[in-house]
């Protein structure tokens, strides 16, 4: 084994040290924001809850700073992080209770040396579940909860304990190439929480099954390598976490949230400022903004995904045909797509919606049509490159038909750029959805969708600005998450950018 003698280099390649700084800066930023918000400038009073949060975050920041110093000292003296320093991560785990996901996940990663992708998945499955319980738990302050609330919450608590146990087991027993045989059934059980939207659990189960079966060493290696690359990018991990959290929240929201709070008018509680009963206040019809935003996530994700999947399938197929056959086919397809490409996406969407009326289905179609050419171009470029490789030639020499060459050999090998492109454009689709709804051209106005909520908020900008601020923040965070994850994915899948 090579010994790295340069202390500075050692600091640089030690993931825990870099992540400590990352956690440090984010905790510091949040404590600063809490400090700003803790004082109400209009009424010249202090908000005690926010001030407490600020103090906790500040303490966390100082604690992480202390840990980073410890790590530095450890590396200088003994070239590796001492067990005592690793144990310092335990108190950090509990910061999840005040919502500090950064320091909590850092605590988990610090404790153990054995950081397999499965361990990271277990951490985030656990954290996602706790946050879901916390967010759903806010409904307890409402006058009543839905019938399925208690059942759902107890299920979530059971799942959380399960993930907690898995966390310990995975940390101790699973290595980068191996998992004990008896973990196979557990892995299968872990696939089911997908029904609650917890994709991390699914990924964990999938990884465990792969390693426990121990059949194909190269595929385990590939899996390990790809995820290690993606997971080493902290921003990408948090992007993925927020996407899955939002997804999970929108899957479980019908079980723990009452749709009536989001849509039924309640004239006794019009334009209330944030309280425990209405965590983000109410709008001009007395509807709970918090429930509306939670249900809005559903629509945004559905439209965002559909408006990405549909054009990537259509555009991908056209691009593949165009790139594979070349010449006349290529010319005809690409010239026709040039026409679509010349009209800006939003304008084309407005024209289509003008013609067919504003509703969710038309919105999805309108957004999809506009983005077909970009996908077709991406696919075409990749397919043209891959068609020249030897394995395609050998498939042809063996007498494979054109369609089997395209769909069995070329397309699977050219999916990576498409996946990256799709991840990076889901964010754009989410923005377009809410922009069009804001203009009154998207989702029907009675459905709680982020753009619709903002449209109401914009009329109360002067008096009740929180109505416009919170939904906008949600849009931004979701889009930002997709962009961060997409960037991370691109760096991991495309060796050229490294």
């Amino acid at each position: 084994m090579k010994v790295i003698s340069n202390g500075k280099l050692l600091l640089k390649i030690t993931q825990e040290y870099g992540n400590a700084h990352f956690t440090l800066s984010f905790s510091a930023i949040f404590s600063f924001l809490f400090l700003l918000y803790s004082f109400n400038f209009n009424s010249q009073t202090v908000r005690p809850i926010v001030l407490t949060l600020f103090l906790i975050y500040l303490l966390t920041t100082l604690y992480v700073w202390f840990i980073s110093k410890q790590i530095k000292r450890d590396l200088a003296t003994s070239r590796e992080i001492q067990k005592r320093t690793r144990l310092l991560g335990i108190p950090l785990i509990f910061t999840i209770l005040v919502g500090n996901i950064f320091s909590s996940s850092y605590g988990f990663t610090l404790i153990t040396k054995n950081k397999t992708p499965e361990y990271i998945f277990a951490i985030y499955a656990f954290l996602t579940q706790i946050l879901i319980i916390g967010i759903s738990g806010l409904n307890l302050f409402k006058p009543y909860v839905v019938d399925s609330f208690l059942l759902a919450i107890s299920l979530f608590i059971a799942l959380t304990i399960f993930y907690g146990v898995m966390l310990v087991l995975v940390a101790n027993l699973v290595s980068s190439t191996f998992a004990p045989k008896w973990m196979l059934p557990i892995g299968i059980v872990l696939l089911f929480p997908l029904l609650t939207g917890n994709l991390f659990s699914f990924l964990l189960g999938f990884g465990l099954i792969k390693k426990a079966r121990n059949k194909d060493a190269s595929s385990i290696e590939k899996w390990q390598k790809m995820w290690r690359k993606i997971l080493s990018n902290s921003m990408a991990v948090f992007g993925l976490f927020f996407i899955i959290f939002m997804f999970s929240l929108s899957v479980i929201s019908p079980w723990t949230f009452d749709y009536d709070f989001a849509t039924e008018n309640n004239y006794s509680a019009i334009l209330q400022t944030p309280t425990l009963e209405y965590p983000l206040g109410t709008d001009d019809f007395g509807r709970d903004l918090f429930s509306r935003i939670v249900f809005g996530a559903q629509i945004s994700l559905i439209v965002g995904f559909s408006a990405t999947v549909i054009p990537s399938v259509i555009g991908g197929t056209l691009g593949a045909l165009s790139g594979y056959y070349g010449k006349k086919t290529d010319n005809i397809i690409m010239r026709l797509l040039d026409i679509l490409y010349a009209i800006p996406g939003i304008l084309l969407a407005i024209a289509i919606i003008a013609a067919f009326g504003a509703n969710t289905v038309n919105l999805i179609i309108a957004l999809s049509v506009g983005s077909i050419p970009t996908y077709a171009r991406t696919m075409r470029a990749t397919v043209m490159q891959i068609s020249n490789y030897e394995f395609v030639e050998s498939a042809r020499a063996l007498g494979a038909s054109d369609s089997s060459i395209i769909f069995k050999h070329i397309v699977p090998n050219s999916l990576a750029p498409m996946i990256v492109k799709a991840t990076l454009t889901i964010g754009g689709a989410v923005i377009s959805t809410s922009s069009l709804s804001f203009l009154g051209l998207g989702v029907e106005p009675h459905i709680p969708e982020w753009g619709n909520i903002l449209k109401i908020g914009s009329t109360y900008l002067e008096t009740h600005s929180y109505l416009a601020i919170f939904p906008g923040l949600c849009i931004m965070l979701l889009v930002l998450s997709f962009n961060f994850f997409g960037d991370g994915l691109r760096d991991a899948l495309d060796p050229k950018t490294n």
């Binding site: 304008l347 003008a354 013609a355 923005i431 906008g472 930002l480």
Partner: protein, 479 residues
């Protein structure tokens, strides 16, 4: 003087016949040339048929001679043996059981092919060529007198040949044709979308109580009762003669409204673009020179936030802070007050700035690792010189293309910003008109924006070909 004149004319004739030779190898171009110069071609084709007997003779004779020569020298037998062996080996490799007859047939075919090729080669060495119409016409084109006589009836064909004689002119010509095709396609597409709309503008304007006669009258007035192609023709000719008639609601002249609103949008878009370029390119360059530094991380996270922020929300937040709380800028647009332009320009330019900064960074990073940069550094140039004289110029090419494409997206996205700041630009005009739907107004708005974008991209492409030596040399090679 005389000498000069002759060389000059022989040069132009060589342009015509060499371009004709080049183009006539491709069937579609040959057809086009034939159609463009139809009057000339009818006369020359009759001449060609008349002289056929006279000129075909020497070529045929030479062909027969060299064929006999090759056969008599016994080459054919040798080839036959060779091919027979080849075919047998092939059959045994693929485990095919072919009858002797079949193999002989294949061998004969191969031998004939080879013989023909060899003979043609021999004849070619003698300087004779087959008497085809193509060759006949090329000979005519080399004749100055023929050119003068046929100049007027063949004007179209000759100008086409002139266009294609220079690869650069050819590129511009093809690019312009392509743009025209796209513009026509866009107009047809948008019209078709609006035509198949299930919504009824007449009902929306006249109200629910309108009698069938009133609706019929309305449809007749605006030509909505006519068949698809008639309406399409009206719309297209309206678009290209700048006369779209009056809008359904309000009866205002559509062209006048668009002409009023377009400059407003364009003004904001151009200022946003300027802002984006001024901020983004230095930011991208700094990030690329110091990759993975604190500055780089902060810039890139800021850029990503800029990409992720919805324009209308950013506009609302800006109005909230800068207009309502701080009172620095007015909340709505007013043409007389330049301060009111600041917020919309910043909002519209944010995502563009972010994209350009990211693009600049990645493009610069790619260039910085090229060999010629290492050479420049090894030469002892200081970093400033390397970056400014060698790296930036090469990194700019993809950045400019991206700017051209994003500019289009920005014009399209302007409608949202315009709505937030209450600007009466073309974007908010389209949005206002879509509720009816006011077909000619929407058509005009969308198509004119698309045309603007296409022309901007056309200009960028052509300027590129003009300035980038790599593209020019590639064109010459292909041409």
């Amino acid at each position: 003087m005389n000498q000069k004149g002759i060389t000059h004319s022989s040069k132009t004739t060589s342009i015509f016949d060499s371009t004709f030779k080049k183009l006539s190898n491709r069937r579609s171009y040959m057809m086009l040339l034939f159609i463009l110069g139809l009057p000339v071609h009818i006369v020359t084709f009759i001449l060609f048929l008349l002289k056929k007997e006279q000129y075909q003779q020497p070529y045929r004779k030479a062909y027969e001679n060299s064929k006999q020569e090759i056969v008599s020298k016994g080459y054919v037998e040798a080839w036959k043996q060779q091919f027979l062996e080849q075919e047998n080996r092939k059959a045994s490799f693929f485990h095919e059981s072919l009858s002797k007859e079949q193999i002989n047939k294949n061998v004969d075919l191969l031998v004939q092919e080879k013989l023909q090729k060899e003979v043609e080669k021999q004849v070619d060495l003698l300087g004779l060529e087959e008497y085809t119409y193509q060759n006949f016409f090329i000979h005519l084109l080399q004749n100055k007198k023929f050119l003068i006589v046929s100049a007027i009836p063949g004007l179209l064909m000759y100008s086409f040949l002139l266009l294609y004689s220079n690869p650069f002119v050819q590129f511009i010509f093809e690019r312009v044709i392509q743009t025209l095709f796209v513009i026509l396609g866009v107009a047809t597409l948008v019209f078709t979308i609006l035509y198949i709309s299930p919504l009824d503008p007449a009902r929306n304007i006249l109200g629910v109580e309108a009698t069938p006669e009133q609706i019929e009258n309305f449809n007749q007035l605006y030509g909505l009762d006519q068949p698809y192609f008639v309406q399409l023709w009206h719309s297209l000719s309206g678009l290209f003669t700048f006369d779209l008639g009056t809008s359904f609601a309000g009866k205002e002249d559509i062209m006048a409204s668009i002409a009023n609103k377009f400059p407003v949008t364009l003004e904001i878009a151009v200022f946003s673009l300027l802002m984006a370029i001024i901020i983004a390119i230095p930011v991208g360059i700094i990030s690329a020179i110091r990759p993975n530094s604190f500055l780089d991380y902060s810039f890139m996270i800021l850029a990503l936030i800029g990409l992720s922020i919805p324009a209308f929300w950013q506009g609302l937040i800006f109005i909230l802070t800068f207009s309502l709380e701080l009172n620095w800028f007015p909340a709505t647009y007013n043409p007389q007050n330049w301060l009111s332009l600041v917020l919309p320009v910043v909002v519209l330019g944010t995502s563009l700035t972010a994209s350009i900064a990211r693009m600049t960074r990645s493009s610069m990073l790619e260039v910085i690792h090229e060999d010629y940069i290492i050479t420049a550094k090894a030469k002892g140039l200081n970093e400033r010189k390397v970056v400014f004289q060698h790296a930036i110029r090469n990194a700019m090419i993809p950045i400019i293309t991206v700017i051209g494409l994003l500019f289009g997206g920005m014009l399209g996205g302007a409608s949202v910003t315009e709505k937030v700041f209450n600007i009466s630009g073309i974007g908010s005009y389209i949005v206002d008109k879509q509720f009816i739907p006011d077909i000619p107004a929407i058509l005009g708005g969308v198509v004119y924006i698309a045309i603007t974008i296409s022309i901007v991209n056309l200009i960028i492409d052509i300027t590129y070909a003009f300035f980038d030596p790599r593209i020019r040399s590639k064109m010459k090679k292909e041409g």
